[in-house]
Amino acid sequence: MALRSQRLSEPPEPSAAPAAAQAHDAPSFELFYQRHAGAIFGYLWRVCGDEQTANDLTQDVFFSAWRHFEKLRGYDRPEAWLFRVATNLALNERRHQRVAGPAASLHGYERAAGDHAAQFAERSALRGALEGLPAQQRAAFILREVYGHSCAEVAELLGVSRAAAKMTLSRARASLRRLYLHEEAAE
């Protein structure tokens, strides 16, 4: 998936557009939502690892998109903007620990007893390993390997330098190799 070269920046603070204009945009915005919501939800689910959070953040992404829809619908590839906003929200969410996903299993830790262990056992090795990654590494890996963004595009989506993106991807793979192999061996 190629990203448009337009600069992706943090959306500005919301400014209340005239209600009439917003109402006028509603039909096309619904079409826009229906076209992109599935992909954004899937991406957020992969990054956050939690369905409810992914639904909530998807709504946040498209609420933001609605506020900037006048500008956004002029883009050739508005999904780039959506992915950038979704990435920011997901990283912020992970950073603030709002993601109430099961604990990631890391080598050397005791797994929690009871329901936590049961929940964990039901998860695939990869999912467990992914959840053990820092949020930025996880997002970088998913953007690169699942959505096919180039290293430069990953850098832009994460808001980091290309060198940092390259290192983040390498670290993500290293962590996944270690965690994934450990999970596989444990099963």
Binding site: A104, H116, L126
Partner: protein, 578 residues
């Protein structure tokens, strides 16, 4: 799939190289070289295959269907926003009312050194020694109170009760806890403290020293460290080295901040501030006092006030007399926002004892104090003792302890929970005999009725009794369930060599366990401050942590924050699961 033993690549290509190659992030020549090489290199092929397998596995994951009501919910939100014309998000915090700015007092090098000696004299000793099962007879100071009588309180003990096993996890805390430093500033100290009774309220502070000023930042969280808000920044003089926080057990919005000049001026060593609004505005409480072991409950504070008498800075100085000691260190209580303090340790002095530490149970306000003979510092063979008061120090009852706990040892006390019995460990730390581990740990979960010998910390067995040359000692923390948590930081020997590749690992000793468990590495090339700026610094690289849902946060009992030399600060709050 099992972990294979990967042979070395003859070209020395690393996983980083192969990752960058996969990402097409290498110069063309380098990429071509790897492409040509990889097909014939078993080591590279294994890594490449693993990368491909991971990618394939990630691509194969199918997300669930989005919530079918999502569009309707979004429409409702849009409609609501059109109606309300919302106010701008993230209104900036008012910082109009800030604490007064005090001029800083420089800390001369000689004073630093001599102060360090003074600190060493009175610093808590990290490690002690205990005996095996033991029961002793209680004695009393002042008017005898033979049997502790818990005072009914509205603060119910939630968790844990003695012996209840806890699952503990670390949690990355305020990722946005970034000190407002200028380039080149150094974060000298930071601390995070939970409310003793409100697991969702915690405060964090940091002191960053720049070229001309020191900046004190304060953050607050009221959702269990899930989100943090920067609530105050104030610039001070250069004297400040550290900040210590304390939260009123009855009023989570009341927080006290003490700025510590750890190696500071003789006559003015700290400034104390009080906030009644969760750290947003502060008022000045006191100067020139170094308050340690501070506890506040219902606006009544108990703390150890340490003065800094000049006499200790003249060399050579004889062993302080009892009167000198009593003058420079007192346990006192204040009921008027620290305007006046009344000593509550006179009975100890009368018995030739000196209080070393004080703790308070938030549930009933009971105080626990450890004490040694006033000759204990030069004469470590003296006993260390535990005493309890249920009337804010008017009367003290001795808690049974194993015999022969040396005065150069100390007690670890778990964060008190409600009215639960005291959980304490007496640790006797003897000396440096090579290959002669002499550190013993004896712990009680029932306020001293019984004591059990616990295995010595693993780092002690690794290093012998003492890691020679190790300045960053590994001090255990006692968790409320009686578990011990210790970082192993004996990474650097006196000759600079790495003593063990286990350096940086955290070790846990649950109450029922017979050996310490390695629970992973901590830190990210960072220094971690455990228990505040005056205690042990440890270097814990590569912190691994588990996330826990906020709604599973139980009672708070501890925290530590890591601050890298670059000023980046990460915080890890430890919480129990109910």
């Amino acid at each position: 799939m099992s972990a294979p033993t990967t042979p070395a690549c003859p070209l020395g290509l690393s996983a980083d190289d192969l990752s960058a190659w996969r990402d097409q992030a290498l110069p063309a020549a380098a990429a071509e070289r790897i492409s040509a090489h990889a097909s014939g290199c078993l080591a590279c092929q294994r890594i490449i295959a693993m990368h491909e397998a991971l990618a394939a596995a990630a691509q194969a994951e199918q997300p669930p269907a989005p919530d079918p009501r999502a569009w309707l919910r979004l429409q409702a939100r849009i409609a609501a926003s059109q109606q309300s014309r919302r106010a701008p998000a993230n209104p900036s915090l008012s910082r109009a009312r800030r604490p007064a700015v005090w001029g800083g007092l420089g800390a001369a090098a000689a004073v630093l050194l001599l102060s360090a000696l003074f600190i060493h004299l009175f610093a808590q000793q990290a490690l002690v020694r205990g005996g095996s099962s033991h029961t002793a007879t209680a004695t009393t100071l002042a008017t005898p109170v033979a049997t502790p009588q818990p005072i009914p309180t509205h603060v119910a003990p939630t968790v844990p009760i003695a012996g209840t096993p806890l699952v503990w996890q670390t949690r990355e805390g305020p990722a946005d806890l970034i000190p407002k430093t200028s380039s080149g500033d150094l974060v000298h100290a930071n601390e995070m403290v939970f409310s003793p009774t409100d697991a969702r309220t915690a405060y964090a502070c940091s002191v960053a020293r720049g070229a001309t000023t020191a900046t004190v930042d304060v953050w607050a969280t009221h959702d269990g460290a899930r989100t943090w808000k920067h609530v105050n920044t104030t610039n001070y003089g250069l004297a400040w080295y550290g900040c210590k926080l304390n939260v009123d057990a009855d009023e989570p919005m009341r927080v006290e901040l003490t700025l510590v000049t750890l190696y500071g001026n003789v006559t003015s060593t700290s400034q104390s501030l009080l906030s009644d609004d969760g750290g947003q505005t502060w008022r000045h409480l006191a100067d020139g006092q170094m308050l340690t072991n501070l506890v506040t409950r219902g606006k009544v504070s108990v703390g150890m006030i340490r003065q800094w008498p000049p006499l200790l800075f003249s060399q050579p100085h004889p062993t302080p007399t009892l009167q000198e000691l009593q003058n420079i260190e007192q346990v006192a209580v204040s009921r008027d926002d620290w305007r006046t303090w009344q000593p509550i340790d006179s009975a100890f002095w009368a018995q030739g004892l000196m209080v070393k530490d004080v703790w308070q149970r938030p549930g009933d306000g009971a105080l626990l104090a450890s004490a040694i003979s006033e000759t204990g510092e030069p004469n470590p063979a003296d006993d260390a003792q535990l005493w309890q008061s249920i009337d804010l120090g008017a009367h003290w009852t001795r808690i049974p302890t194993p015999p022969n706990l040396r005065a150069d040892g100390g007690f670890l006390v778990g964060q008190p929970q409600g009215n639960a019995p005291w959980h304490a460990c007496g640790i006797m730390f003897v000396g440096k005999e090579v290959n002669q581990p002499t550190t013993l740990v004896a712990c009680t979960l029932d306020s001293g009725q019984t004591w059990q010998t616990r295995p010595m910390p693993v780092f002690m067995s690794l290093c012998g009794s003492y890691c020679e040359g190790e300045e960053l000692a590994s001090q255990p923390e006692m968790l409320p369930d009686g578990s011990l948590l210790a970082p192993f930081s004996a990474g650097v020997a006196s000759n600079g060599a790495q003593q063990s590749d286990l350096a940086g690992h955290l070790y846990l000793l649950p109450p029922s366990a017979n050996q310490w468990q390695d629970i992973g590495r901590a830190g990210s090339g960072a220094d971690i401050v455990i228990g505040g700026p005056t205690t042990t610094l440890v270097s814990l690289p590569n912190m691994s942590y588990r996330q826990i849902p906020t709604d599973e946060l139980g009672e708070p009992f501890g925290s530590f924050i890591s601050g890298s030399p670059l000023g980046e600060v990460h915080a890890f709050a430890i919480a129990t699961l109910p």
